[in-house]
């Protein structure tokens, strides 16, 4: 018959144990500042999560080696509490609560995924814990009225406008744009924003299509684009989608004077995976390592950040690395300005922050996003992303795509 007694006992004991441990828990080292970092170490965003982790560790070491963050009269070291949220929304939500309630973090970083950022922000908002996003650039992520969510990436519109400016100046004959976007928060937003702003800038959008997540073949939409003979082909998606798209464009013999992919070309893996086919593809980014920013942060200048990264990783940093480190810099500056780690005070300080760092300007708008500024436009030339715009970082001119 049914003999559930012992098994129930096991479960009950486990719960009791858990409860007991939660009471006594690990005593916090009184002076350490704790920042929570949910990372995608496994799952669909694992590659991006790894980039964040590298940048976070760079900042952590640099700050702690210098004695820590200045809080009023003292300096306090920082501890990053990391967990793998497995690119899973439920885990992200659970983790957020764990970091706040059990690990008692003072501040938090957002996970890489857009939807996951929203969910984590939802939890943090109730506790009044400031959350800094490193990779959220779509306005829809910041549209729930959360007061504690901030992000170091400027909204997509800034980059699109910069792109439109660059192309219209260098190649005024280009008039007809074909847009293909992935049906996913960030890529879709990049596609629809382009659609709206291109029309405003006087371009004709000849087609605007979306492909669903999990598409293994883009030859159909690309064939369609081919038949329309546009001057400008604009495609959004994650690296693997864009690599596929570029390859299939070559397969089908599709070209146009301007080819833009968001955000593939700024990443090393895109260029590695395509070799010569990556040449002349344009993109926008939120930061380029040839910028000349100087600021009062652990690195002091873009060059210093770049040098350390190259020495350590043997490759160029992309905007994800920079933005991740910048997110921590922003939190650091928030604490320094508030002269305390009190969450409310730090939130106020962040809301009124206006500084320049190795990453560029950090000044948050009402919705928490970093103010729109001139975002770099790049083009892959000789296997390397070369900035074309703005003038402060410009190293080359727009070449027609071949």
């Amino acid at each position: 018959m049914k003999t559930p007694v012992i098994s129930r006992g096991v479960a009950a004991t486990a719960l009791a144990l858990g409860l007991t441990l939660s009471f006594f828990g690990a005593p916090a080292v009184a002076q350490t500042i704790k920042i929570g970092a949910p990372l995608a170490l496994t799952g669909g965003l694992a590659d991006e999560g790894k980039k964040q982790a590298i940048a976070y560790d760079m900042w952590l070491k640099r700050v702690n080696d210098a004695g820590g963050i200045t809080v009023g009269a003292t300096k306090r070291k920082v501890e990053l509490v990391k967990y793998d949220y497995q690119t899973n929304e439920q885990r992200a939500q659970q983790l957020a609560e764990k970091l706040i309630v059990e690990d008692k973090v003072d501040l938090m970083l957002a996970p890489f995924g857009s939807g996951h950022t929203k969910v984590v922000a939802g939890v943090a908002e109730r506790y009044g814990v400031p959350v800094m996003a490193t990779s959220a650039s779509s306005e829809s992520i910041f549209n729930q009225g959360y007061k504690n969510l901030f992000g170091v990436l400027a909204p997509n519109t800034g980059g699109i406008n910069a792109l439109l400016t660059t192309v219209s100046k260098s190649m005024p004959a280009v008039k007809r744009v074909a847009i293909l976007g992935r049906e996913d928060v960030f890529p879709k937003s990049m596609a629809t924003t382009m659609s709206e702003l291109a029309v405003k800038a006087g371009y004709q959008v000849v087609s605007s299509e979306f492909y669903s997540v999990g598409t293994l073949d883009l030859s159909t939409p690309i064939s369609k684009i081919k038949s329309l003979k546009p001057d400008w082909i604009y495609i959004t998606g994650y690296s693997k989608d864009l690599i596929l798209a570029r390859k299939q464009m070559a397969d089908l013999g599709v070209t146009a004077p301007v080819v833009t992919m968001i955000t593939g070309p700024v990443y090393k893996e895109f260029i590695d995976a395509l070799g010569p086919q990556a040449e002349n593809v344009t993109s926008m980014t939120w930061w380029h390592h040839s910028a000349q920013f100087k600021g009062n942060d652990p690195w002091g200048s873009t060059k210093a950040f770049y040098d350390q990264f190259v020495a350590q990783e043997k490759s160029d940093p992309d905007y994800v690395h920079a933005a991740s480190a910048a997110a921590l810099v922003a939190l650091q500056k928030g604490i320094e300005k508030a002269k305390s780690t009190d969450k409310k005070a730090v939130r106020e300080a962040l809301a009124s922050l206006d500084i320049v760092t190795f990453y560029g300007q950090i000044k948050f708008s009402d919705n928490g996003m970093n103010g729109s500024k001139e975002l770099p436009i790049i083009q892959v030339q000789n296997g390397v992303p070369v900035p074309l715009y703005p003038d402060s970082v410009k190293k080359g001119n727009l070449r027609p795509f071949k």
Binding site: A46, D47, L180, T220, S223, K240, K247, D251, E269
Partner: protein, 286 residues
């Protein structure tokens, strides 16, 4: 004529789809095991081909057989020592076992290879045929995929081992009475499934960037193809793969790319209701 292109796209895609599904279909049909590791096997094959190309400069097309053999050994081992224990149990049990094994494999690959998308850069050029542009690497992939599928079919039809596999599939107990050790046949079949997956992976690495997150997508495709074509038969996987490739291609063209995958699944549902054995499927016959 754009339809020639759409059709060509569909066929090239379809051949790869067929290759993805044939190993999965075989294992499912013969062992009644839904092998959730199949996608991961393909990805593993892709990684092995990629790294041999990257570090040793070996052409992936040459690597197909070696990689496939490695996967065969892996598959055989897993079946013999793990899955054989539960092979007679209800479908859910075997599903759960392969689910657990898949997690282990996925974790191992993530640690070993990291999740960065990798692609073998092998640009062989394009050929213009009847108004359609046909990339040579896809053509090569298609030819190889068809060749492998054909080879498998021949093996099942003519070789002693092949006939034994079919016999076990038709009636395990009768086969045992005929002197066939069914457990060994199961292991060989599973190994064969892994073999096809590994070969497919080496082929896929040329046309699509490989990353661990691809395994789930590939598995999903395999499911749909098996239903459309019919379980357990090589012609079934072939027909199913080609059909799905063509359907997705035309559906994407007429109804918009964002609906292409949805159409595939809807079709699958409809077929399940109307004709669950698929286009070819007549269980038990090669």
């Amino acid at each position: 004529m754009i339809y020639t292109q759409v059709l060509a796209n569909g066929l090239m895609l379809g051949a790869i789809y067929a290759c993805i599904a044939v190993g999965f279909s075989l294992v499912w049909g013969v062992l009644s095991v839904i092998n959730l590791m199949h996608g991961a096997f393909i990805v593993l094959g892709g990684y092995l081909a990629f790294f041999s190309w990257l570090h040793l400069g070996l052409n992936p097309f040459l690597m197909i057989i070696p990689v496939a053999l490695v996967l065969f050994a892996l598959g055989y081992g897993i079946q013999r020592y793990a899955i054989n224990e539960v092979v007679s149990k209800p479908v859910l049990i075997t599903l759960t076992v392969t689910f657990g094994l898949e997690m282990i494999l996925y974790n191992a690959m993530n640690l070993a290879f990291s999740a960065t998308p990798r692609r073998i850069v092998l640009d062989l050029g394009v050929v213009d045929f009847a108004g359609a542009m046909l990339p040579l690497d896809r053509i090569a992939a298609m030819v190889l995929a068809l060749a492998l599928t054909g080879l498998l079919y021949l093996t099942l039809r003519t070789s002693k081992v092949g006939r034994a596999i079919v016999a076990v599939r038709m009636d395990r107990d009768a086969a045992t009475l005929m002197g066939i050790e069914y457990k060994k046949i199961y292991a060989i079949t599973f190994g064969l499934g892994a073999f096809m997956a590994g070969a497919c992976g080496a082929i896929v690495a040329v046309v699509f960037p490989i990353s661990t997150s691809l395994s789930g997508l590939l598995l999903g495709k395999a499911f749909v193809i098996c239903v459309i074509g019919g379980l357990g038969t090589v012609p079934g996987a072939l027909v199913g793969g080609l059909a799905l490739g063509i359907i997705e291609s035309f559906a994407g063209h007429w109804l918009g790319s964002q609906n292409a995958i949805l159409i595939g699944f809807l079709l699958m549902l409809v077929l399940l209701v109307v004709r669950p054995t698929g286009i070819i499927g007549k269980k038990g016959y090669e």
